[in-house]
């Protein structure tokens, strides 16, 4: 019987079984950033340990970097302290650091792929739950805690339980105006925020076959929001094409050998899965979250659910809590909610193609009065290419602020934050209470083009109508 990619990669990296039954798993690639690594380096120093495989650890700085302050010291001394600590730790341990002066700095999940560090058939860990992004390349990639960051630094391994695998097939063509972001919001709405607990998600089907790498990354990125620590797509020609020629991709004869090996990691046609879910791409709508978990989403044509419609008492409590926090009425239309802020960026949707797609449509439009709209490239590389293409000018002309690379308003560890109960149309990945920096701030997750539509109309809108898609309401 065949094996899934998950099983093959797991087997190739399983070192041995530990006393409690867990596996000691080799972590081939370790990505670190300033928030979850300083304590781990501190623990290493306390134990007198060194980084065991420094050439397999790569660092960047993203969460705390201000996107509108180019010169250090930053106005926030805590942020300045964190970047300096990372510099020191990387220098002392011979770890490659994509610092702000390298032209390669950015959100860790954007930097890894664009540098060609993220490769098929590898294991990748990072002290960040959105690490599953790298699964788009057919890697087994997942978030870890700081004690595990310590474990990887000291041993290049962690203790882990093997996961089950759920195959999610999405077949068909997405309707115009429906994007990868809608696919993952739809999946989470369908399977729930804890449906993926204990599973790796294997995303497959013709929709994924036809996706670009950046689209695959958007979906894999939010696996954890559905409870799945790992999400991946089998590697194919699209994957290899993306990687070819990137700085850390194999070169020459090693490239050919690597591609052959990468192909062998793809799930076998006759492998079995612990669960299979089939989704018809044509049924997916532009999806917007109305609540305080990423599973609380509806199609743009739908209404927000009512408390009474929820099936169980605990569901009714959840809906009631979400409606109260969001200041929305159950049963009201999602369309037309007035927004204060529009955020385009993050490890979910801060890539070149996200900005290219929006730029195609916003020419001739203006950000609505009273709305603050910011565009934050996911990396310095993304920013540079976008600027060479003139995208920055298109956004600025339309009334958006064009910022420097970083996590920005996704999680508010930097100056980009909501104020009071501002409502934000956001291309990021989490709508938790207080996520965007104000304890009463409100987040609605949606695709980049839907964020742009909300920005120019000042309210949650159907991008297909706003931007004159021929097939709107088809």
């Amino acid at each position: 019987m065949g094996k899934s990619l998950f099983e093959k990669v797991w087997d190739a990296h399983a070192v041995r079984q530990l006393a409690n039954g867990q596996t000691q798993l080799l972590i081939g690639t370790h990505l670190i950033h300033e928030v979850t690594s300083p304590q781990a380096f501190g623990m290493l120093r306390d134990r007198g340990l060194k980084v065991q495989y420094p050439h397999r650890t790569f660092a960047t700085v993203d969460h705390i970097v201000p996107t509108n302050e180019a010169v250090e010291p930053y106005s926030d001394p805590l942020a300045q302290g964190m970047i300096e600590e990372l510099r020191k730790n990387c220098a002392e341990n011979d770890v490659t650091f994509f610092d702000t002066n390298t032209g390669k700095q950015g959100v860790v999940h954007i930097v890894g792929p664009e540098q060609g560090i993220t490769q098929p058939g590898t294991t990748i860990a990072c002290g960040d739950s959105h690490t599953a992004t790298h699964g788009a390349f057919g890697a087994i990639a997942f978030g870890i805690g700081t004690s595990q960051v310590r474990d990887v630094l000291a041993t290049q391994t962690i203790a882990l339980n093997e996961l089950k695998v759920r195959r999610i097939n999405v077949n068909g063509t997405l309707p115009p105006g429906v994007y990868a972001k809608d696919v993952i919001l739809h999946i989470i709405r369908l399977l729930g925020t804890q449906g993926g607990t204990g599973y790796a998600y294997e995303y497959a089907g013709t929709t994924f076959d036809n996706f670009t790498m950046e689209e695959r990354m958007t979906v894999c990125n939010m696996s954890i929001e559905g409870g799945a620590r790992v999400g991946y797509v089998n590697p194919d020609e699209t994957t290899f094409e993306y990687l070819k020629g990137r700085p850390y991709a194999p070169k020459g004869a090693a490239w050919e050998a690597a591609v052959e090996q990468w192909k062998s990691f793809a799930s076998d046609a006759d492998c079995t899965f612990d669960d299979v879910v089939d989704i018809d791409a044509a049924q997916i709508q532009p999806t917007v979250t109305w609540g305080i978990t990423p599973g609380q989403g509806v199609g743009i044509e739908e209404n927000i659910p009512t408390i009474e419609d929820a099936p169980t008492q605990s569901d009714r409590d959840s809906v009631a809590e979400a409606l109260e926090y969001m200041k929305f009425e159950g049963g009201s239309a999602i369309k037309g909610k007035k927004i204060d802020v529009a955020f385009l960026g993050s490890c979910t949707n801060g890539r070149l193609s996200d900005f290219q797609e929006v730029a195609k449509y916003i020419k001739g439009h203006k950000v609505a009065e009273g709305v603050q709209a910011i565009v934050v490239p996911g990396s310095q590389v993304v920013a540079k290419i976008a600027e060479e293409l003139g995208l920055d000018k298109i956004f600025i002309e339309a009334g958006f602020e064009w910022r420097a690379a970083g996590c920005s308003m996704c999680l508010a560890m930097n100056p980009d934050k909501l104020v009071g109960d501002q409502l934000c149309a956001s291309s990021s990945n989490r709508n938790f209470k207080g996520r965007q920096g104000s304890p009463t701030g409100r987040t609605m997750l949606m695709s980049p083009l839907m964020v742009a539509a909300a920005a120019v109309t000042g309210e949650v809108s159907d991008a297909r109508e706003v931007f004159g898609f021929a097939t709107a309401n088809a």
Partner: protein
């Protein structure tokens, strides 16, 4: 060097109602601008406890009757969201050493176990019973018996679940795996040696 085995956790309880208590709620990101975990306990559930102007909200976590609690009772999917170990670190540093929930997010569960914070699963009905008992008598002593899969409170007990691997680790005191991982270094080198991308 193994830690002290954890066979039982005993203490008073506090009920934190709600499903999907996420890591941003446990420790808001703005308090994570730090290079050590010291002092994180102060910010545990900050926005659940405080208004924007810094006053205490009406919540069990602010109620002096539950001030001595060391066991949190909560809903389903506790700890969802981020991989930040800051979440269980802040729980531990605020004086709590166990969480009873309907289910746990995976990364949170692993992070907690590594720190010796005991996370056990109990049914909705049983957690409601425990929450009522705590409300009726905040002094009530709760004991989570990791070995026997039971939660005792007063003269009652209800069953609880804990992942077998985590249970073994707690009972043996080997919940921090670093020493065991270090012992495997020769095997690690062998596994790494067989993978082309691992070569320097």
């Amino acid at each position: 060097m193994p830690s002290t085995p954890i066979k039982q956790v005993t203490g008073k309880g506090v009920y934190v109602p709600g499903d999907d208590i996420d890591t941003d709620r446990i420790i808001p990101a703005r308090f994570m601008k730090c290079i050590t975990f010291d002092g994180l306990g102060e910010y545990l559930f900050h926005d659940v406890r405080k208004t924007e102007s810094g006053e205490d909200k009406k919540h069990n976590l602010n109620d002096p009757r539950f001030a001595e609690a060391s066991i949190i009772v909560s809903g389903n999917n506790f700890g969802c969201g981020s991989s930040r170990e800051h979440a269980p670190q802040s729980i531990l540093r605020a004086g709590y050493n166990a969480v009873i929930a309907g289910s746990f997010a995976e990364i949170f569960f692993g992070n907690s176990t590594n720190l010796g914070v005991v996370c056990v699963i109990a049914s909705d009905a049983d957690r409601a019973t425990i929450a009522q008992a705590i409300e009726a008598n905040p002094e009530l002593e709760i004991t989570i018996d990791v070995e026997d899969h039971k939660i005792w409170f007063g003269d009652q007990s209800v069953p609880c679940e804990i992942k077998p691997g985590a249970r073994d680790s707690l009972l043996s005191g080997n919940y921090d795996p670093l020493d065991e991982l270090l012992e495997g270094s020769a095997d690690v080198a062998k596994t790494a040696g067989a993978l082309p991308y691992m070569q320097a």
